[in-house]
């Protein structure tokens, strides 16, 4: 309601030309160090603007340039071209401090999400220390997902937009080798024969398809 008062009436019906919208998206993405969703852009742009369309043009415009327009989950960001990394003053890379356990746990969550702690332990064959999970949560590379609808309703972990941003992934579906792993059945939750873990199975599969297949 209040927007109507502020916005000139015509903008409700006449969006700015697409070239102008492209400039706006460009300005918004340049101004932010974090990825910005299309919805957020739309909220800041005049009524009737179509940032998704403008993004198509903008992305093409920056192909081969020193910076690129990249998709991060359902958001967009501008990042420097990876071949120019040598020009930059490097940040202290957090991954140095990551233990082998943390890196493996991260990979297991990324490839199996949503993933419970018990499943991580099952895959690694060893208990997951609290500190490992905490470290990944702190880096904001993982977050809590929905609880599993199995006895005890365990929490699950999923990877975040920051994770995708950090590793330059458009989505979790683009994880390296994901398709091959799935084809080889290595992402199946296969219970130990003779153990009554059958209930988990259906749940797991639905969980995976939910994450990866839409």
């Amino acid at each position: 309601m209040t927007d109507d008062v502020q916005e000139p009436e015509k903008s409700l019906f006449e969006a700015p030309p697409i070239a102008e919208q492209e400039r706006m998206v460009e300005a918004i993405l340049f101004a932010s160090s974090d990825p910005v969703t299309v919805a957020e852009m739309a909220a800041r742009m005049p009524h009737g603007a179509d940032p998704a369309e403008a993004l198509v043009y903008l992305r093409r415009r920056y192909e081969g340039r020193g910076v690129r327009v990249v998709k991060v989950g359902d958001a967009w960001a501008i990042r420097t071209a990876p071949d120019l990394g040598f020009l930059m003053q490097k940040e202290v890379v957090e991954t140095r401090k990551l233990s082998r356990a943390a890196i493996e746990t991260l990979a297991i969550i990324a490839y199996h999400q949503p993933c419970t702690r018990a499943e991580i332990e099952e895959i690694r064959g060893v208990a997951v220390s609290r500190g490992t999970i905490d470290q990944l949560l702190e880096l904001e590379w993982i977050r809590f997902g929905r609880r599993r609808m199995t006895p005890g309703r365990p929490v699950t972990f999923v990877v975040t937009q920051s994770f995708l941003d950090h590793f330059g992934l458009e989505s979790a579906r683009d994880l390296p080798g994901l398709k091959e792993l799935r084809a080889a059945g290595l992402l199946d939750n296969r219970p130990m024969p003779g153990l009554g873990q059958g209930d988990d199975e259906g749940e797991d599969q639905s969980g995976q398809s939910e994450m990866f297949e839409d």
Binding site: E104, A107, I123, P176
Partner: protein, 262 residues
Amino acid sequence: MAGPSLFEEDAQSVSDRLQAEALIVDVDGFEGPLDLLLTLSRTQKVDLRRISVLQLAEQYLVFVEKAKKLRIELAADYLVMAAWLAFLKSRLLLPPDPTEDGPSGEELAAHLAFQLERLQAMRESAARLMARDQKGRDFFARGLPEDVQRSRKIHYSATLLDLMQAYARIRTHDEFRPYAFDREHVFTMEQALDRMRGLIGFAGDWTDLVSYLPDGWSADPARRRSATAATFAASLELAKQGHIELRQSDTFAPIAIRRKPQ
């Protein structure tokens, strides 16, 4: 599954044996029994899919035996794995017992092979992930982001009901205006007392109370009522204090006062 390599441990090369010893010394370096099994499986130098689980079980049990001899304390989960592998080994070696329920040795072995393959796959995936271009190392975000200024726009809400209630409140307020606010038309007893104290000295004779009413208070009925009541009350007060006398010849007859003779 029962491979010919069952009793080949003695046939291992010296370097293999040294390697096995090093494994034991490094036991703290393993991330659990599955990790150890994965490392041991490499000595078979075959694809994980073709691994001999029986041979692997043997290698693991030998490892645990050596650790015991060297008095190296192994964590409980290594011993649990050893017990399970011993069980698996017996299942793989003995002909299946038709009376016994549960999974066959082959099924269990296949599952262990799956676990190893899966762990290996996750290790490789982790390595591929970490080998990717990373933000802050290979590519960079905007170094000088411009903050989005948040301007607060306050939208005041009021409904017609609010408006009507507010008006009703004001009007109701009027109706309940305390009586005491109407000082203009009220002659108080204090005012009457002050007035009569000044006049009483001259009232040697009986005088009608009405003649003590202040000027300008007789015409308007409301003012007259107020002044009369106040003056009457004041005269009662003065009588009580012994300054004056009162008399009334009959009900509703005029009331007369005079100064009390000393």
